[in-house]
C-alpha cells in the first residue's frame, strides 16, 4: 500500500457516508425501524404456514360439517351435523375404541422399554459412550419409516427370522399358543394385533426415550445416593425418587407415542388384521368411498382426544420437560 493511500485513510472522516442507492436506503430503513425488518422477516413464513397449513385445517373442519348424498355420492356443501352422527354408529365407535386401546398399550410398553435406556444414557454413559447412545437413539428415530416397517415384515413373516429363532430354541409352542389366543392371535404374527403392537412400539420408541432422558438428566445423582443412604432399597428409590421425577418426561414422551399411534394408518395396513384403525378409516373414506366429510369428521376425533390429553399433560407439568 502506498503512502498516499495511507494518508488518505488517516484523514478520512470517522463516519462513513451512507452507501447510497436502494440498498443503502433499505439498510438505513431497517436500522431506524427494526419493526419493518421484523415484519418483512415474519411475513413469508407466517403467510405460508397461515395459508397453506392453518387454511387447510379450516378447510378440513369445514368439510366435516358437509355431508354426502347417499344416492348420488356427491358432496352436499350445506352445514349439517349428520356426518358427526355417523361417527357414533357401532362400527365406527369400535374403530375409535380399538385405536385408543392400542395407543394406550403402545404408550405403556414404550415407557417400560425406554426407561432403562434413558436412565443409563442420562446417568452412566460418559464421553464416547454418551455420543454412542445419542446416535444409537437418533439413527433409528430418523431412519426411513417405511423401511423400518418393512424390516418387521421380514422378521414377523411365517418363514422369517423370529420363527427360525424360536424353532432353534425349541420355543415354537409358545408362539403357537400365543397365536391361538382370540383377539391378539392370528394366522401369523404379521397378520395379528400383536404384530401391529410390536411395530408401533418399535417405530415410536425413540420418541419416548428422548424426553425421558432429558427429564432424568436433570435429576442430580446425589438424590439417588441420598435415598439409598437413608436405607431405601433400589426398588423403593425407583418408586419414590426416580419415577416421580421422570414422570413429566414420560408424559411428554407419551404425547408423541399416543398421538402418532392415533394417526397412523400405514403400520396397521401392512402388519395387522383387516379390522380398521382410525387412520385407515380416514384413508378409505376419503379414497375408495369418496366420503371426504366422514373422513374429515374421523380426523377430528384424534384432534379432540389429543386436545384433552395435552390439557391433562399440561396440568402434570409435562411441557417443562420438553
Amino acid at each position: 500500500m502506498s503512502l498516499d493511500a495511507a494518508m488518505m485513510r488517516a484523514t478520512a472522516p470517522a463516519i462513513l457516508p451512507g452507501s447510497g442507492g436502494l440498498r443503502g436506503a433499505l439498510s438505513d430503513l431497517f436500522w431506524r425501524k427494526p419493526k419493518v425488518l421484523l415484519l418483512l422477516m415474519l411475513l413469508p413464513p407466517v403467510l405460508w404456514l397461515g395459508i397453506v397449513y392453518i387454511g387447510s385445517l379450516f378447510a378440513l373442519l369445514a368439510q366435516s360439517f358437509f355431508s354426502i348424498d347417499e344416492f348420488s355420492g356427491l358432496i352436499n356443501r350445506e352445514f349439517t351435523l349428520k356426518t358427526y352422527g355417523d361417527l357414533f354408529q357401532a362400527a365406527n365407535l369400535d374403530i375409535i375404541l380399538r385405536t385408543v386401546t392400542m395407543a394406550a398399550l403402545v404408550t405403556l410398553a414404550s415407557a417400560v422399554i425406554a426407561f432403562p435406556i434413558a436412565y443409563y444414557a442420562a446417568r452412566y454413559a460418559r464421553g464416547r459412550w454418551k455420543a454412542l447412545f445419542y446416535l444409537g437413539i437418533m439413527l433409528p428415530l430418523w431412519s426411513s419409516y417405511l423401511v423400518k416397517i418393512y424390516a418387521w415384515k421380514l422378521i414377523l413373516a411365517k418363514e422369517g427370522i423370529l420363527t427360525w429363532l424360536l424353532a432353534k430354541l425349541h420355543l415354537l409352542w409358545v408362539l403357537d399358543a400365543w397365536l391361538s389366543l382370540p383377539i391378539v392371535g392370528g394366522n401369523s404374527l404379521s397378520v395379528s394385533f400383536t404384530g401391529t403392537f410390536i411395530v408401533f412400539v418399535y417405530v415410536w420408541l425413540p420418541f419416548m426415550i428422548l424426553p425421558v432422558q432429558a427429564a432424568l438428566e436433570r435429576v442430580p445423582g446425589n438424590l439417588v445416593e441420598a435415598s439409598s443412604d437413608l436405607g431405601a432399597s433400589p426398588g423403593q428409590t425407583f418408586r419414590n425418587v426416580l419415577f416421580p421425577l421422570a414422570l413429566p418426561g414420560i408424559v411428554a414422551g407419551s404425547i408423541f407415542t399416543f398421538s402418532l399411534t392415533l394417526g397412523d394408518y400405514i403400520i396397521p395396513q401392512i402388519i395387522g388384521t383387516s379390522r380398521l384403525f382410525i387412520g385407515q378409516a380416514v384413508y378409505s373414506q376419503q379414497g375408495t368411498a369418496g366420503n371426504i366429510p366422514l373422513a374429515a369428521a374421523f380426523t377430528v376425533v384424534p384432534v379432540v382426544i389429543m386436545g384433552f390429553y395435552l390439557w391433562g399433560a399440561k396440568r402434570m407439568g409435562a411441557f417443562d420437560a420438553l
Binding site: G18, S19, G24, L26, F30, L38, M41, L42, P45, W48, L49, V52, Y53, L57, L60, A62, Q63, I113, P116, Y119, A121, R123, Y124, R126, G136, M138, L139, P140, L141, W142, S143, S144, Y145, L146, V147, K148, A151, W152, K153, L154, I155, A157, E159, G160, I161, W164, Y202, P206, E225, P234, S259, G263, D264, Y265, I266, I270, G279, V282, Q286, P302
Partner: protein, 271 residues
C-alpha cells in the same frame, strides 16, 4: 462420595439398556442382509444364498429411477423453501421480543406435532375445495410445510448461542445491514443451516403419509415402496431399494450430527 459419575451401573440396568438398543438396531441390520438374498418368493431366513445380482436388476428398473428422481426433486425444492422460511422465522423470533412470539413458535411446530394424516387430509380437502389438481407442486407444498420446523429448530438453537454484540460491532465498524448479514450472521449460522437443510431433506425424502394425500398418480420413492409393501411383486428389488433408502436417509443424519455436535442442542432432537 462417589458423585463423579464414574461408578458402574447395576447389571440389570446394563442388560435392559443393551436389550433396548439391540431391539432398536437389529431390524435395521436385517435389511442389509436381505438385500443380498437369492430368495425371490418369500422372506425366508436364513437366506438360502447370497448374491449381488439384484443390484444390477434394480439399476435397470426405470420405475425405480423415476420415483427416485421425483423424490430428489421434491426434497430439494422443499428443503430450499424450508431453509428460507425457517431462517427468516428463527431470526425474527430470536432477535426480538414481540407480541405473539409464542404463537409463531407453535405455528411452526404444529405441522409436525399433529399426526401426518391430519396434515395430509387437511391439504387434500383444501385442494378439493379450491379445485387445485394434484401435481409436483402440491407435493412440494405439503413437504415444505413440515420441513420448516427442522430448519427453524436448528437455526433458533444457533442464534441463541450467537451473541448479538457481534452484529452491533459489525454495524459500528461501518458495515450496512446486508454486509453484516453476509459477513457476520451467515458464517455464524451456516453449519446450523446446513444441518437443518440435510435433516429437512431426509425428512422430505422419507415422507409417505402426507404424500399419499397430495401426490395423485405420481410416485415418490416411499410411495413406490408402500405399493410394494401392500402388494409385493418384486421382493428382491424392494430389498435393494430398502437398503438404498436406509443409506440415503442415514448419511444426512450422521453429517448433521457432526456439524452441530459442539452445540448445546444437537440437530435432530426434535423430529
Amino acid at each position: 462420595m462417589r458423585s463423579d459419575g464414574s461408578q458402574s451401573a447395576p447389571l440389570g440396568l446394563k442388560i435392559a439398556a443393551a436389550c433396548g438398543l439391540l431391539f432398536l438396531h437389529l431390524p435395521i441390520l436385517l435389511i442389509f442382509v436381505y438385500a443380498f438374498t437369492t430368495e425371490e418368493k418369500s422372506f425366508v431366513w436364513p437366506p438360502p444364498g447370497l448374491t449381488t445380482q439384484w443390484f444390477a436388476v434394480t439399476w435397470n428398473r426405470p420405475d425405480v429411477w423415476q420415483a427416485l428422481s421425483l423424490s430428489v426433486r421434491v426434497a430439494s425444492i422443499s428443503t430450499a423453501i424450508a431453509l428460507v422460511l425457517g431462517t427468516l422465522c428463527s431470526a425474527a423470533v430470536s432477535r426480538t421480543k414481540f407480541f405473539g412470539r409464542e404463537t409463531i413458535s407453535l405455528l411452526v411446530i404444529l405441522p409436525i406435532a399433529l399426526p401426518g394424516i391430519i396434515t395430509g387430509i387437511a391439504l387434500r380437502s383444501a385442494f378439493s375445495l379450491a379445485d387445485i389438481p394434484f401435481s409436483f407442486w402440491t407435493i412440494v407444498l405439503g413437504h415444505a410445510t413440515f420441513c420448516v420446523v427442522v430448519v427453524y429448530n436448528n437455526a433458533v438453537a444457533r442464534f441463541r448461542r450467537t451473541s448479538g454484540s457481534m452484529i452491533e460491532a459489525s454495524m459500528d465498524l461501518g458495515a450496512d445491514g446486508f454486509q453484516t448479514f453476509r459477513h457476520v450472521v451467515l458464517p455464524n449460522i451456516a453449519t446450523a443451516l446446513l444441518a437443518g437443510g440435510m435433516l429437512a431433506f431426509a425428512l422430505s425424502f422419507d415422507e409417505v403419509i402426507v404424500t399419499t394425500f397430495t401426490a395423485g398418480q405420481q410416485q415418490t420413492l416411499p410411495i413406490w415402496m408402500l405399493e410394494e409393501l401392500i402388494r409385493p411383486r418384486q421382493r428382491p428389488v424392494t430389498n435393494v431399494v430398502a437398503m438404498v433408502v436406509m443409506l440415503v436417509t442415514l448419511l444426512p443424519i450422521l453429517a448433521a450430527y457432526y456439524l452441530t455436535r459442539d452445540g448445546d442442542q444437537i440437530a435432530g432432537s426434535g423430529k
